[in-house]
Symmetry: C2
Subunit: 115 residues, 2 copies
DNA sequence: TTGACAAGCCTCGACAATCTAGGTATTATA
DNA sequence: TATAATACCTAGATTGTCGAGGCTTGTCAA
């Protein structure tokens, strides 16, 4: 199938980016490639989407960036998730779980357990 | 919790609307109330969002509308899902399943089964 | 009977998020 | 040497939702 329109992606991009970074520091270009690979081409996050998100996250103190030279000799801009970023990740994760469970419940025609 | 920001909702509204209609004809106001109830207030679809969607779906032949007098004496505009709408629902449902599974896989830090 | 409120449908402008399509610079490759 | 891949960035167009309003009909209380 492999397309999952961009609107579905909307709202979960920050969650996905933070999730990637929670596994270790990464640079932008790498995140795009990793998301694409890990999702088997379901997610093709565009550069025009990712870079502004990273800048916003940094402005908000959820990530910190630093430059580091790659073995190739090129300088890359790595991002590191902060404590605040981890908290944000938790919140977004919780939101996602509630949201997706609710959608699934509606699709199944049942009312979700009112916990 | 109860908020699940609007961006998550974006992209799944059509899916949700079609899903509601696949269970039987409904009028707009009713869909909003039903979604809100069935989701325990997680989804509060606004009129300014729903009505344009219904009009688009009708223009695309996914639903048909007809007027019917309610027991109260008021005339309501009911929507009925067409064969084309059912096909669209299937597609969107499949997209959703793939999308949500992939997000969950990324959150879990694993690569989804490349079925 | 009159006024307020709920039911029910609609639309316009603002806002937010993504994408398109460009730009720049460096390194690898043919 | 030229082209492609790597790596970062941004301005403008597009798209979807929302807020805020308008309009009509029915209900209910004062």
């Amino acid at each position: 199938m492999k397309k999952a329109d961009k609107n579905l992606l909307s709202g979960s991009t920050t969650l996905l980016v933070l999730s990637l970074l929670s596994a270790g520091d990464k640079y932008g270009y790498e995140m795009i490639a990793e998301l694409e690979a890990r999702s088997d081409h379901t997610f093709t996050l565009k550069e025009g989407t990712l870079y502004p998100i990273l800048h916003t996250l940094e402005r908000d103190g959820a990530v910190k960036s630093y430059e580091k030279e790659a073995p190739t000799g090129r300088v890359r801009k790595y991002y590191h998730i902060t404590k605040r970023g981890l908290r944000l990740l938790d919140e977004k994760k919780e939101e996602w779980v509630e949201f997706s469970q609710t959608v699934n419940a509606i699709l199944a025609g049942t009312t979700p357990a009112l916990a």
